[in-house]
Every structure is written in C-alpha cells, then in structure tokens.
C-alpha cells in the first residue's frame, strides 16, 4: 500500500509550534509511506491540487493529512481524494491544530506529539477499507406530533409543499396552549382570532390527516422509513356521524363532576364535552371516568338525544400503523406545578405560596382564562374564590424558573413578557385596581418587547418591585404577600386580593417517555436535545426527526412558529429526493462467528439489530444471528464493544484500525 502524507502549516497556526517540515520528513521514513510533504495551506485550491497530483503521480492508495480538526475539513479532503480517484474513506486526518499546535507552547514536545498523531493516522489508514455510501428509499409522508401552534404551522408548511402529513394530537382538539391565551404580547391581538383560521385550514387540508385524541406508542425504522404505531383513544362518538350540534352536551346530566382542563380547572364541564367552542374537530368526547353510563351502566341520555346515532359506548381504542419518512416533534410545554406532588418530587413546589391551597393564588394560564372573553368569567376580572373583582393584584415572576432550590435553573423566557401583558390587561379592565409585579430582572429581548414593558410601567402604572416574595398567607380574605424590595432595601407586605404566579415552562410530563419511544435524547429537565446548539437547532440527533416549538426549550409564539417552519423546511428537503445517501459508518455482523446472544440488540439505541435465521443446506434453521439494518444503524459502535465474540465491526472505526492506532502510540 502506498500512502501519502500531507502536513499543513495552516498559515502559521500549526507551524508556529509544530516543526512541519520535520514531521513530514520523519513520516517519510515510515514503512508504507510513499510520499510526504508539508505545505502552507493544504485546504486551499493549490493545496488540494498538490494532493491530487501526488495521488496520481505516486499512485497512492491512501492519504493522511496533518491539519485542522476533521470536523473542519474532513469532507474537503475526502472530496479531493475522490476527485483524484481514490476512495474518500481512505483518508485520515491527524488533528495537528486544535489538538496540538493551539494547545501546546513548547515546539519540541508539540512536534513530537504531532509526529505521533500522524503516525497513528498512518497506521489507521493502512487498515482502512474502501467504503461506499449507503442508499435508502424515502417514504414521502411526515408525522407531526403535537397540534399546538408549532405543530399546526409545521403541518401546514409541509402539506403546502405537496407532501402528506399525519398530525397527531393527544387532546380532543388541536390548538394547544395558544388557544387558551387571551391576548398576545406585544401587540395585544386576540390569540384565538389569529389561531382558529389556521386550525380550520389544517382540518380542511386535503394532504393532512388529523388524528386527535391519539398518541404515538411506538416508532420503529429509520430515516425515510419509519413505521409509527398510533393509538387512537376511544371518544365513544362516531366521528363520521357526529355533526357537532352539541345536543348531547347540553342534555348531559353530569355537569359538575369534572373540571374543565381547557379552562385550567376554573370551570366544570359535562361528562360528554368539547374542550372549547372553537375546537377542531368539533366532535365531543365522553369522559368514562365521570360518565354515569360507564360508572353505573344507566343513563344513556346522550344516546337518546343524538339524532344522528353517533354515540357509541362500545367504541374501543384503535391502533394504526403508518409509514412515515420524517417526524416533526412539537409536543410543547406545561407549566410548573406549584402544588405539592408527593408522587413526583422532581420539582419541589411552593409551600411558601401555599401549595395551591389558596384559590386566588393562580398561575399564568389561569389568569389567561380569566382575562379571556371566552373564558369562565367572560373576560371579567373576577377572582376564583368568591367572584369579587380584585382591587389589588400581585404578579410574581420567576416562580420555579431560575430557582435552583426548586429544581430548575433555566429562565423560562416568556414570563417577563406575559406578566407585563397580564398586568396591563388587568389595569385595562380594573381601572381603579393596583397591580404589583415582583421581578428578578426584566428580560425583554425582542422586537417591540422592551417598549411593551415600559408601556406597562409608564402608561398603565403597573408597580414593578425588584425582589422575591418569601411567603403568601391568607388573612381576612386578603392574601398577605411578604417580600423584599431589593432596590429600596426594605421588606414589603402587600395585602392583595389575588396573586398570579408566572410559573416556569417545563416539558410535558410524558416528554421523556416519548423521547425514548422515538429514540431522541433529552436534557435533564426533559426538553428534547437539538443536534447542534448553533448549526443544527431544529434537527434532533436521530436522523429524520426534527424539533419544533417549546418541546426543545421555552419559546414564545413567533419563535415556535419560526422553528416549526424551519423544521418543515428541513423535512421538505429530506423528502424532495427519492433516496437518501448515508455515511457508510455502520456496524456489520460476521454471521459465521455470531453466537446469537443478541446483547447487541439490547444495547442498540436505534433498534437496528434484527434476528436473522441461518439455514443449513437442507433449509433447516440451525442458528439465529444478529443482522444490522444498515439504514437504521447510526454507527455508534456500542454493539461492537458489547459483542463478546467480537463478531461486529464498525466500518470506518473497526477494531483493527483502533488497535493499529494504539500500537502506533
């Protein structure tokens, strides 16, 4: 084998601490090295030409480049090698810049290290095998998980590009949290007015199949070829027959047994219900847990009044399997629970604010419902306990957020803005009321955001107090809010009628479970991880799965929408070709040696390992061996280390290559 070694000076970046000519000269003496040279800029056009010419002149089989990190220019050099006629995977890079010249001062020791690094690369390249890219077909259908604003936006964008979309929403209606909001900052336009047309569009779009009251239970396969199992929960209503007239709802005798979760438990709903009047689809759901028929076997009032015969008490959960090419995850967020949850001590809750004991200490979404014209108070400012108009209201920011002692270190990003908005809305509705805001800092980065906060303070006379609240307790129907004004350096006590806590945005409860189902990583809070924090913000690390909205980190509406469109765009790029090209760094099983213990299957994070029968000449299966689906394998190599008989090799990083590197130390 003839190997060429090319040492780059990177201007002076490498050559200032590494004696590049010496490295090149020493490498020339190694067995197998046919040609060795150093040059000022290997990645430049003349540099690449030098490589190409050397490959052709010396008939090189493989090359080693001593340059910057492979993350930087591996592709460049592979292409150069390819254009000169050698397999792009017969190229190894020794990282002489980031791992050597930039981090060491002493010329002698860094030169010696550089020699060793190049030597390791030479030994590895000797064992390299030519690889070719893998092609996999693409199913042109997209799954969007979550029907909030991010999911709606992503679904519409993909569908408008002409691809089929399956939109799965776990609630009976799409719309998400945005449909609960009263008005949006910083424009104070009505949230539902801008959202509902988009919801309708989703419903009517010929390319979108909408599955509400459904959940993703299993994801198999790989980019371009996922197989997704979706469970459609029983509504007990025949969706084809129901006209959405609402007769069943108005006649249902169970009126006050269940809280309306859309109204954030500020109102009741009947046993058969539509979450809210603009729900899409406008089809009710029967709640088995409170319905008299399901509890006692009697009643059946809805059955009697439905003239379309759409009520079906026997309906069962159904499961369907869809072929999917790409997945957009847009599961959104929930709010930090201030109540005491003995079952889940992940977050501690706020005992000092009464653990939800006081009915007038509410969270931001509850306030949204009170302020909303379609809410339980029809938009009138009334406090939940006695329906009185609160004359003094306190908003507390950063409840949960930025509070390590309660388990969350991050900033929830939107609370400063929505608190300002809510205080403003309150002042607009209660002209003689006083609004106080306890804050740590005001974070109003965004177009017209800072101006909006200033407006709340200056025009609407909201009183901002910088400090934390240490305790809230009830006295004489008032809520005594004890806190500190850190600017004045004084303790403050406010006897408020109502307190609104701007609780932190946290991931949905089932986010980690869903992440495991799909096979994407998540951080310690449960937010899904993007592939690269800067350059790949909408891709998950699993190929073919994209992220949109607040499931990745706290976001406001415009950011969620932007991310959704970005994810849609990435998906469309993926679906635009009929086949996919993948890097050939995948694991391969030696079937002769495989003992069939299937530990590889157990450790494979992607489910790439399948069972393959091996037959003798009579066609009788005599052993089962592991088989790695090259389309699914992501090339982590965990199986190779787990395999006890070493029957699996990871192409491009096989054991022989690594042993050679170790030997060259």
């Amino acid at each position: 084998m003839k190997i060429g070694v090319f040492i780059c000076h990177c201007g002076e970046n490498i050559s200032s601490t590494v004696d590049c000519p010496r490295v090149a000269k020493i490498c020339e003496s190694y067995p197998g090295v046919e040609y060795s040279v150093d040059y000022k800029y290997m990645c430049s056009d003349p540099g690449q030409n030098l490589i190409r010419e050397a490959i052709q002149l010396y008939k090189l089989d493989a090359i080693v480049i001593g340059s910057c990190s492979p993350h930087m220019h591996e592709r460049t050099f592979r292409n150069a090698a390819f254009s000169a006629g050698i397999n792009p995977f017969m190229v190894e890079i020794a990282n002489l810049r980031e791992h050597c010249s930039w981090v060491h001062d002493d010329i002698e020791s860094s030169t010696l290290k550089a020699i060793e690094l190049v030597r390791m690369a030479i030994e590895k390249v000797k064992r390299d095998k030519p690889l070719s890219k893998i092609n996999v077909p693409v199913t042109k259908r997209v799954l969007v998980i979550g029907g909030g604003i991010a999911g709606i936006q992503a679904a519409l964008d993909v569908a408008n590009a002409g691809y089929e979309v399956v939109l799965v929403e776990k609630e009976p209606s799409i719309g998400g949290h945005m449909s609960q909001l009263s008005e949006t900052f910083p424009t104070l336009d009505c949230s539902q007015c801008i959202l509902t047309p988009r919801m309708v569009e989703v419903h009517q779009h010929p390319k979108i199949k909408l599955l509400t009251y459904s959940e993703v239970v299993k994801v198999e396969g790989f980019i371009g070829n996922f197989k997704v199992t979706i469970k459609k929960k029983a509504r007990h209503i025949n969706e084809d027959l129901c006209s959405g007239c609402g007769m069943c709802i108005s006649k249902c005798p169970i009126k006050k047994k269940a809280y309306n979760s859309f109204e954030e438990d500020l109102a009741f709903r009947s046993a058969v219900y539509i979450p809210f009047s603009q729900a899409i689809p406008n089809i009710p759901v029967i709640d088995e847990t409170v319905c008299t028929y399901f509890q006692t076997g009697k009643c059946g009032m809805c059955l009697k009044v439905c003239d379309r015969g759409a009520i079906n008490f026997d309906q069962k959960d159904t499961v369907m399997v869809a072929d999917i090419g790409a997945i957009i995850v847009a599961t959104g967020y929930k709010l930090y629970d201030i109540e005491r949850k003995s079952a889940d001590l992940k977050y501690k809750g706020y005992g000092e604010y009464g653990y939800g004991k006081y009915r007038d200490v509410i969270d931001g979404l509850q306030f949204e419902r009170i302020a909303s014209a379609s809410g339980p108070t029809s938009g009138e400012m009334k406090r939940p306990s006695d329906g009185k108009e609160p004359k003094k209201i306190v908003f507390i920011q950063c409840v949960g957020s930025r509070d390590d002692s309660k388990g969350i270190s991050y900033c929830s990003k939107i609370c400063c803005m929505y608190t300002a908005k809510q205080a403003m809305l309150y002042r607009h509705k209660v002209h003689d009321g006083e609004a106080y805001v306890f804050y740590m800092d005001i974070r109003a980065g965004g177009k017209m955001y800072e101006e909006f906060v200033r407006r709340a303070i200056e025009e609407d006379k909201v009183k901002y107090i910088r400090g934390r609240v240490s305790r809230i307790y009830e006295e004489n129907g008032k809520y005594i809010v004890k806190g500190e004004d850190t600017i004045a350096g004084m303790p403050v006590e406010i006897d408020a009628d109502m307190v609104v806590l701007a609780t932190a945005m946290i991931p949905q409860d089932n986010a980690p479970a869903l992440a495991r189902t799909i096979g994407i990583p998540y951080d310690k809070y449960g937010f899904f991880n993007e592939s690269h924090p800067k350059l790949k913000p909408v891709e998950s690390t699993t190929a073919g799965v994209f992220l949109a909205g607040a499931c990745q980190s706290p976001k406001d509406i415009p950011e969620s929408v932007a991310m959704a469109s970005a994810a849609a765009c990435k998906t469309i790029i993926l679906l635009s070709s009929d086949t996919l090209e993948r890097e050939p760094v995948v694991a391969k099983v030696n079937e002769d040696l495989c003992a069939g213990c299937f530990y590889c299957q157990k450790v494979c994070p992607f489910g790439a390992v399948e069972v393959k029968d091996v037959k003798d000449i009579n066609g009788i299966v005599y052993k089962e061996v592991a088989f790695i689906n090259q389309g699914v394998c992501q090339g982590c190599g965990t199986c190779t280390a787990t395999c006890l008989s070493k029957s699996i090799e990871l192409s491009g990083f096989n054991n022989e290559e690594i042993f050679a590197e170790i030997a060259a130390l």
Binding site: R119, A663, A664
Partner: protein
Amino acid sequence: MDEKIILKDDLLRICGDVIDKGHILLCPVMNEYSIVKDFSRIKLDASALPAGTSFKCYVFPKTEPVLYYKRSKSDVQLIDVNIDRKNIVILGAKPCDANSLNIMKHLFNWDYSDEFFNLREKNFIIIGLMCSHYDEYCFCTSVDSSPVSEKGSDIFLIPVDENKFAMRIITEKGSEFISPYAEYLKTGDENISKQITENVKLPKVAFDSNEVYEWLGENFESPKWEGIGNLCLSCAKCAFVCPVCHCFDIVDEDYSYTEGRRMKNWDGCQFGNFTMHASGHNPRDIQSKRYRQRVNHKFRYYVDKFGEILCTGCGRCSRGCPVSIDIKEIVSNCKD
C-alpha cells in the same frame, strides 16, 4: 549394570552441590515439578502419584520466542534468540515422566532438528525414581512401560529403606554426572534392588497396544467417536498436562508498529481452531473427529512414524478431565 547404594543424606548433599554449581534442580514438590533451592523440601516419595503436570515445560516451554524482527521501510531485519544452556537436574522423576523426552525427541528431530528442544534436552540430567503406587487412572504397563522402568532415566533410584537408595547408573550422561561424587557411592547388591522391583505392585494391563493399533486402523468411522465427541468439551487440558503432547503454534506478536517477535506456543489438537484453514474449511470440524485424532495420533500414527506409542501411561489426562473422560477406558473398551 553398575549398581550403587547411596544414603539419602548424601543424595541431598549432591543436590546442594548441584545448586551451588548454578544448575537448576527440579524436583516434584507439592504435586508439581518445581525449581528447588531449599532441598529440605525434597521428599523423594516413591508412593506419590504423578505430579499434576510433567516437566515438559522445562524442555518445551509453554511459550518461547524463536526470533525477533524489525520492519523498516525497505526490509525486515531478523534477530536470533540466544538460547539458554543451563544444566537442569531432575531428581525423582517418575518412570512415566522420565520416558517422555525419549518419546518426544523423535518429533523434534524428524524432518528438522529443533535446536530449541535439543539444546535444552542435551542439558537435562534425569534421575528417575521407582514408583510404588498407582491409582485407577495409571496404565503404564499397557504402553510398554512399568513403575520400575529405567527408560529415559540417566540415573535410576530404588528406595531400599527410608534412608537408602539403590542407584543404577543408566547412561553415560548419568555416569559423567555422578563421577565427581564417587565418594558417596557404595557398592550395592543387584539382587536386593531386583527383589524390591519385583515386589512392586503393577497396575493391571488394561489393553494390548497392538490390538488397539489394529482396531484404530479399521475403525476410523466407528460410531463410538461421536459418543465421546458429544461429551468432550474441547478444552485442551489433556494435551497440556500430557508429558508427551508436543503440538505448537507459531504466532507473531508486535511490540510496536515496527518491531515484534515470533513466538512458539503450546497448542492442543482438541481446540476447534487447531485445524482451521485460512480458507475457512476445517477438516476436523467437530469434536468427535478431534478426539479420534488424539487417540489415533497416540496409538497409531506415532507408532507408524517413529515406532513408539505417544503415551507414557501416566493417566494425567483422565485424572484431570473436567467431564471424566478416561482414555484408558476408551481404548480398552474399543472392541466392545
């Protein structure tokens, strides 16, 4: 035959001198042949069972370098190994072990003279000791040997009483070794030792090696092999503890990316990979074929080639077999 009498104490004195001269003294201690520095540990017990392993490893080490190499850009440089020439004195070798070098010698000097073996073997002095005890696995009498056989020993000892040995000097090497110590030797009476040896209880002759030879030739495809093959677990413990098994493997081991050494290691015919070809074909792919090979090699092929049975009847292979396969039983029952 030159027969002498020597006191045990004098024998130990000779041992002391051997050690002082810088030779290596090997003696069965605690169930194995070990290098003895403190000769109070020497027991010289004729009624002990054969040691767990033979002294094969001192003449044919479990691993040894045969050459070193260094690769450079243009060529490969080879460096020879300087072979050790130390004298080794083995005191108290069982007759079944003593004979092993004689048997193995043929193989190492057949088509090629193995200097690694020969140089070591040349420097061996084997002082054999009569054996007065056998167990259910011993069958030396079935393979042309016996507990009182002098075969392979340079000097042979017969315990007369607790403190005295009759000493027969068998070979020239033996007499050369003992000559400096003539003062310790008294003239002995051949009849006394003869009487002792004749009274030694011999293990029953379990089989006739000639019949076994014949049977093996005719029963290459016997269904018996499969039964044994199913039980055998393919470890090579039998081969590794055998005093005469001599198969070895040659491997190259790298020190670094340019330097390395070539090693000669013990190998065992019971390993599945023993006959694995580079093509992937394995002529002895299943255990029954491998076990058949083992028995054939010992009782037929080696006889064909060198006229000797490749077995000393020490019974180590059967005594240690994890699944209690008894070669004596298999061979003696071959005809049923």
